[in-house]
Symmetry: C2
Subunit: 222 residues, 2 copies
Amino acid sequence: MKDRIQVVEKILSANDRIAEDNQARLDAAGVLALNFMASPGAGKTSLIERTLEALAPERRIAVVDGDVASSIDADRAAAAGATAVQINTGGECHLDAVMLQSALDQLPLDKMDLLIVENVGNLICPASFALGTHASVLIASVPEGDDKPYKYPGMYRGVDALVINKIDLLPYIDFDMDRFRAGVEMLNPGLVTFALSCKTGEGLEAWLDWLNSRIEGCPSKG
Amino acid sequence: MKDRIQVVEKILSANDRIAEDNQARLDAAGVLALNFMASPGAGKTSLIERTLEALAPERRIAVVDGDVASSIDADRAAAAGATAVQINTGGECHLDAVMLQSALDQLPLDKMDLLIVENVGNLICPASFALGTHASVLIASVPEGDDKPYKYPGMYRGVDALVINKIDLLPYIDFDMDRFRAGVEMLNPGLVTFALSCKTGEGLEAWLDWLNSRIEGCPSKG
């Protein structure tokens, strides 16, 4: 058992070293990088489309999409105006720093302001692997249910911002917002949270304001 | 690289051996066992509740719930009348045959007709680990989107039945049932499929008929 633990630690620290390299490259280019994590179907790609509609081309945005298979998400991001790179993990349940490193090699970092990394749809594994992004954003959604913070604490504990998507469905679903928020507050006190609907556009303004302020806070290009 | 592959094969075959032992124990007791897999929030627990309401106590049903944390699902299954065992995986993204083996030790197998194993909410990892159940059931849901078969082919390819839950939300969501079904058909031709709503009860009858016929097809107790 002790041996096994040591191996896991070694893998993690190799990943962490490459994540640090990734972040240094992003910092040198003045690019803010966000790691979008969520369940399958919570709306990561829809939020990316809405963000591109509102902020591009003034903000120069690239998207790296991680999926087990297909290029559906990168196609959607490219159609919405982003420079997009698809990573097919070939079965792996999360992105890691090496995968992002390969994607960065394909991107014009010095002509970008924002990089959105769309992780594999999964509420567990992606939380354990640093990529080198500056902040992690969890996209939850109303149809998933109000019990998710209690059932996936690792994910909720480790993120820097939370989006609650699909609030347009609140009239049709038994979702207790107070129970949901109490679970979040227990795990991640004071977490910046945006309740919105990518379908109707309700609540998007606050998300975009936060994102703009994060981009402006980035070190300027050298 | 070759060494690494060999290790993975060894782990899988150890899991498979224990899965076979689990199935032999279930067969000896005449218990049909199903492995419920789904995204977080697709409605595994709701389908279990509805199934218990309709079939218990005539059918003697037990539930094993796998979650990263909490006992929310086992509490719900127990409240609905099942004998329930909660497995907290402590971070693991799937159940495996050893975990189910421990749960079987706690269950009165010779006083059961049906065992439902509710796997961890995850569309990737659970597909790779046999448990010893007789059939795998994937619970998809309308709000997840019609692109999920294309993005999570491993899961859709490996299951024996498919439930499409939350059809009551079809009027409020852009979900193309033809696109969804075409993706499923490509991966798993002729897959037995039930479109239903655990909220309204629509479509449940066909699911319950299928389940009853599977239970009746089980080898009788010795």
